[in-house]
Symmetry: C2
Subunit: 407 residues, 2 copies
């Protein structure tokens, strides 16, 4: 049986970023940029004032406070029409171009207009010291026309959207979101709106997996519940193969009604692995299909919700990230000391639901009292997985173990 | 002038969670639950098998491997019709109810069917040891009917959606997402699709703030660009006051065309503070309006994009969180050693764009070479803010400073 790391390698071996599409800027948040972006402008486009105040010639104020004649007022969006000569000043707003001849700006708070009825007239510059260049941001200080300002491969956050707007890109090429279809299987499942009869339970896996896939950045397709019926199952799986990823839950362990692997084979999906060294999640099935529309990836997750969620986070989430064009797609890994004594026993590497908490600047990990892989309720307390090697060992509180943070 | 902490207190003082609304389960991801949730079922609903195999009486196997008569097969979703007697076994699937009389389940991998043509017949149980209770999860081990399973106030992740599905909730009361309108102001602004003329720049603040607000969980309204025109400004601000939060960028510093505070006052918005001890972001304006539809909150952010984004993350994000019903809404704070020597000087507490990186398990913070508050391009490298106290001081590489992680 493959280890978790070997299985993840096989999952990612055939996965590459989806082809780029041209997206309106407002729809790119969270996507990966698929082209290098150059600036079509200098930023700022001119030497600009970074405060509201007066553009001056520093030499006029070398001896301390002085009175200057106001030549004009330049508001943001306007351009100066006059050049400064010795003894004069121009009223200027934040962002406005520096008039020719000026070499500094004095903040309005350090000045006093000497003609209250007329914005022009004379102004007293009250500051003791004016340095050439002060309060001026030089043309192209942030970016020069032609500069490469964003590289293909970055994830587009709000700041990147701002840069794209600044350089005039209303559309950009970005990697599309992967699509992911979810198919829970089993005659025992009824929908959450129904009351289960004897032997039945409500379908919680479908809603969990749809929500987890949305959280991981996929566009989801809800295929409903598949019964243990070969014809219906084949139809639903064929529809699922229209998505980049098909996640089936249940139907891949050793039960006699576990029809899933046979139907997948019929539809041309090639098994890559089945069963791995993992607890919970040993029965994990993975396969792929080379289709005209691109490689399709199929996961058969164990039917119980905790195993299903652990397999999702360890294998499906990184695949979604890889198809979305992200380099680093795995869960955040850290080392943290145990909050309690804890005895682990198991024949496989175990990813145990656990709670990370930070108290007094110290982050501790506490494995939860987990009542087996069907116990979804305990997972509500979990925000991490505590990783234990196979075997039996009593860990002491304070001992450092490996932890994966859940999103 | 208020400190950053005092200003944040004032922003949050009047803010409370929005009234709950009834949401379909599939639309609750990321919302805060607004009711306590009890289970309407036992989970599991019956003693159930956690493996595919044979339900047996452990005492039949006390002496080691044995052959048993198979009475029937219980698939998932079905219920047993027979009770076990000594010397017999029932074939059982994962999740199926344990038949009366059985006290253990043996995995199918540890058995050998002795009649290949007929699933019934006899089975050889090959395992050396069978313990009463093995591979059985008891009725209600995860939850008992009537148990409180989720408390009002939790944020709904995929696991919570699973629990809600399990207890039959297709709709739940949850706190609605706050709405947030964005209004950049200034005659110098043109839309990203236009080529700026002399004195003009493209509107990058609007797209940044819309994206940052979506990232923080708000439903956004794009009001377009307001010119320095009192009538149009009044109309756009009135529309903005239909949202829970109105974020105006520009128009609140000391420029003569800064009409925003006057128009806000006319519309009944009461100023709570203007200017705070913060760099970048000193001109921040904040006010509120008690309207019939609930309290409205108005921010006037400085017009340059870096100040604007810092103010958004420090003040607007926590307000969005509070209105969405979250307890803990601030940016994650940590202490990290400086990656480089760094001299800070400034008359106000400074939140400097910086990069957190983890190398060899050590997380270091590097203040970026930031070319002033209009320098959006450098922010692309930033994933954190490095916090420096006022004054001038040379910090040495390795010295620990306060850091806020950007989302």
């Amino acid at each position: 049986m493959l280890s978790v790391d070997e299985a993840l390698q096989q999952v990612l071996a055939r996965a590459k970023a989806k082809p780029p599409t041209l997206c309106p800027l407002g729809q790119t948040l969270g996507l990966v940029l698929a082209e290098d972006i150059s600036s079509d402008v200098d930023s700022p486009p001119h030497d600009k004032s970074v405060v509201d105040g007066y553009a001056v010639i520093a030499a006029d104020l070398a001896a301390g406070p002085a009175e200057l004649e106001i030549l004009e007022e330049v508001t943001a969006g306007a351009v100066p029409t006059r050049a400064l000569a010795r003894g004069s000043a121009i009223r200027i707003m934040t962002g406005a171009p520096i008039p020719s001849g000026a070499d500094a700006v004095v903040m309005v708070e350090q000045t006093q207009s000497l003609n209250s009825r007329n914005p022009l007239g004379r102004v007293r510059i009250a500051t003791q010291r004016v340095t050439p260049g002060q309060n001026i941001m030089r043309r192209a200080a942030s970016m020069t026309r032609g500069d490469l300002v964003l590289r293909a491969g970055v994830t587009i956050r709000s700041v990147e959207i701002g840069v794209l707007a600044e350089v005039g890109r209303t559309e950009v090429r970005a990697v599309g979101r992967p699509t992911l279809a979810v198919l829970p299987t089993g005659n025992e499942l009824v929908s959450p709106g129904e009351t289960p009869a004897a032997g039945q339970i409500r379908n919680s896996n479908g809603p969990i997996l749809l929500a987890a896939a949305r959280t991981a950045g996929a566009v989801v397709v809800d295929l409903g519940i598949a019964r243990d019926d070969r014809v219906q199952l084949r139809d639903l799986i064929a529809r699922g193969l229209e998505s980049d990823i098909l996640v089936i839950s249940g139907g891949v362990s050793a039960g006699v009604l576990d029809l899933v692997p046979g139907v997948l084979a019929e539809l041309g999906v090639r098994q890559i692995f089945h069963k791995i060294q993992l607890k919970p999640g040993k029965p994990l099935w993975f396969g792929s299909l080379a289709s005209a529309a691109g490689e399709r990836f199929v996961f058969g997750l164990p039917g119980n919700p905790v195993s299903s969620l652990v397999c999702f986070e360890l294998f499906v989430r990184p695949l979604i990230g890889r198809l979305a064009g992200c380099d680093n797609t795995a869960l955040e890994e850290l080392a943290a000391p145990l909050a309690i004594d804890y005895t682990h026993r198991g024949d496989r590497p175990t990813y145990h639901p656990a709670r990370l908490s930070t108290i007094d600047n110290r982050t501790l990990i506490e494995p939860l009292r987990w009542r087996g892989s069907g116990d979804l309720r305990t997972l509500v307390e979990a925000n991490a997985l505590a990783c234990f090697p196979p075997g039996e060992r009593a860990f002491r509180a304070g001992e450092t173990i490996r932890v994966l943070r859940l999103p």
